[in-house]
Amino acid sequence: MAPYFDTRFGNPSSTHRWGREARAALDEARERVARCLGASADEVCFTSGGTEADNLAVLGGWRVLKARGRAAVVSTPIEHKAVLQAVHQAQKEGAEERMLPIRPDGTVDLEAARRTIDGDVALTSVMWVNNETGVVQPIAELATMTKAAGGIFHTDAVQAFGKVAVDARTIPFDFASVSGHKLGAPKGIGAFYIRRGTPLEPLFFGGSQDRGRRPGTENVPYAIGLATAMERAIAEREAHWRALEPLRDALEAAILARIPDAVVHGRGAPRAPHILSVSVPGTDSESLLMALDLQGVAASAGSACQSGSITPSHVLSAMGVRADLASAAIRLSLGALTTADDIARVSELFPALIQRARGHVGAA
């Protein structure tokens, strides 16, 4: 990345030598990103991140098929807000919004999907791996169903890339979103996959970059950073899973052993091993997060709004989790730097904090 902040500062759209140099680097980054997705270079465009890619997918797909007479957009209530709000925007533009029900284990109800996805559907958007529970969705089935009905299938693969095989050659998705900073690339870069031949209306206008699908001067160094991060994520994917799964299972077992009434969300469903979402009756996530943070453990709850205030998770609510448990949920994330010692420490600390929190809740 570094030289492209410095001596190789050319604009990839310029025809002079510095421009050509930048263009070559961008083309190479695009090739590398495409390879990571099992795609061709012309099927990849760069975005400012997952949110833009999700908006481009949902609105770009909906708007173009709306013009061809299709009236519905299918999604799920457990999507990231970038998809959910884009789907709501499509609804404002006339789309019939069809939300697929979620089963208690956090997976999409495929029977309901079969009844819902019909010839009226412009686009189906379902996330591959849920960011709050780690639950892996049946993307191949949903993509196949949507395409059989003549619609476009998009998957938000922001959490999935680097954990499951996101490969356009084996899974028939039409659009996929990837975010750089989830993989160790800088914040502010993402990739959007568009299967060759899939129609798309752009969100932005004003340039021919990315074949007019995403006009605007490309961020060359970040695109290179994204390519490198994606390659590394693929190379380490299986080892990463093998390393995290026993750690997650150990933490889960320790928590359940010490707090028998703790509820692990998504337990029993196929789950990526980087997240453990757990609720303990009689506690609240806000207090636990403060207490954990003050002990040096960074955890999360539902989703934080811009002010930083926590609202109960829409994902857990959609899974039918009781309101008091949803507002007690804590998300413990594991990564490449997580060690067995870390797990042992949290296995002690978490139950201790729970015990104290339970002593006080209700006194309020």
């Binding site: 806000e286 207090s287 636990l288 997060l289 403060m290 207490a291 943070d293 003050l294 811009q306 002010s307 930083g308 205030s309 926590i310 609202t311 104290r356 929190a357 006080h360 809740v361 006194a363 309020a364």
Partner: protein, 363 residues
């Protein structure tokens, strides 16, 4: 080991300085901003709860090198404060939501969060002092906020730190400037945080059913029983109000009572506002031994009014009756009455009724 304190930081200058003074005094300070309602973009710039205020508090905390959290108390505030505010107006009274906010949200809920992080103390930027386990008026007479603090649980006092209570507002600003706090020059706001533009009727219209009697037309009646006009909802009026009443009387007329039973707004001359005493409910004592019957009290019936001499004449459970040495005007049901002994807050309650000097005749 240093002692931990959880400071409620609204994003204003007072609580910013409170946090700074505690850091300077060597406490292990943790900042928290309470998000009390969802402004939905309707209230752009408020002393608390707006995005800008939360950001200000966060930046001050960062500058002080202390952790900062946002506490979502919207549900509890909605239940404990906003719902009561609406119910009081619907019942023909004039509530003070800040009192209930202090009692329930700022102190009780904050203390529960303090427990969760093992903090023995909580702190706020109120102008009041705690000394010898008692609540005292703030040093700055013009800023003293004890009128709004009578309802807090007495045991809270042992765990409450009020770092700016011993300073004047000017001194607080000076400290903020000296520390370079970005909130140093932030303007004051005296309005109710969840009421946009001071227009409380809009909140009532939003929260009450369309056919609520409090917002429906009713008669304007004089104290001697004559109907002199109609109004479009008694909740739009406040005892002591002069504006918006029909003219044609020889002397100025004031709202002297709101009567939900027949939806009447009762008006009368200035003398009709006078009361020689009052009954208070939900009384809370902040001293270990509540005053005895016959005990002299200094009685404050509105914020910033000087306390006036009175006597406790009756006390049963949460209700008291107080006689005033000199009649006072506009003793308004729903407002607070606070009892003092010098600087010490003895306790307070919600005004239930005025013991009127002049009778009101039924319409």
């Amino acid at each position: 080991m240093t002692q931990r304190v959880l400071v409620a930081m609204s994003g204003g200058v007072d609580s910013s300085v409170a946090a700074a003074l505690l850091v300077r005094a060597g406490y292990d300070v943790v900042g928290a901003t309470m998000k009390l309602f969802h402004d939905g973009g309707e209230i752009p710039d408020r002393p608390c709860c707006s995005l800008d205020s939360v950001n200000d508090a966060r930046r001050v905390a960062h500058a002080l090198g202390i952790p900062h959290y946002v506490l979502n108390l919207e549900d509890r505030f909605g239940h404990d404060v906003v719902a009561d505010f609406v119910a009081e107006y619907a019942a023909g009274r004039t509530p003070i939501p800040c009192v209930r906010c202090n009692t329930f949200t700022k102190f009780r809920d904050l203390l529960a969060k303090a427990d969760a992080i093992d903090a023995p103390f909580i702190a706020t930027g109120h102008y009041a002092r705690v000394a010898d386990g008692r609540l005292h008026r703030g040093v700055d007479e013009g800023k003293d906020q004890t009128y709004f603090l009578w309802g807090i649980d007495r045991p809270v006092l042992a765990r409450l730190l009020l770092p700016v209570g011993g300073m004047t507002k000017a001194e607080t600003r000076a400290v903020a400037r000296e520390l370079g706090l970005l909130t140093a020059e932030k303007p004051e706001s005296q309005e109710i945080c969840f009421v946009p533009d001071g227009d409380y009727v809009r909140v009532l219209e939003r929260e009450l059913p369309a056919d609520a009697p409090a917002l429906a037309p009713g008669p304007i009646v004089t104290t001697d029983g004559r109907v002199v006009g109609t109004h479009d909802g008694f909740a739009r009026f406040t005892v002591g109000q002069r504006r918006g009443l029909p003219g044609g009387s020889a002397e100025p007329m004031f709202v002297v009572e709101l009567r939900p039973a027949d939806r009447a707004v009762v008006i009368g001359p200035r003398e009709a506002l006078l009361g020689r005493g009052l009954v208070a409910r939900e009384v809370n004592w902040l001293v270990p031994e509540p005053p005895a019957i016959g005990a002299p009290l200094a009685v404050r019936i509105r914020h910033r009014a000087m306390p006036v001499p009175g006597t406790l004449v009756r006390r049963d459970g949460g209700e008291v009756e107080v006689a005033l040495a000199d009649p006072a005007a506009a003793i308004s049901p729903g407002q607070s009455v606070v009892f003092y002994d010098g600087d010490v807050v003895l306790g307070g309650g919600v005004i239930a009724a005025s013991r009127r000097l002049l009778p009101i005749r039924a319409a």
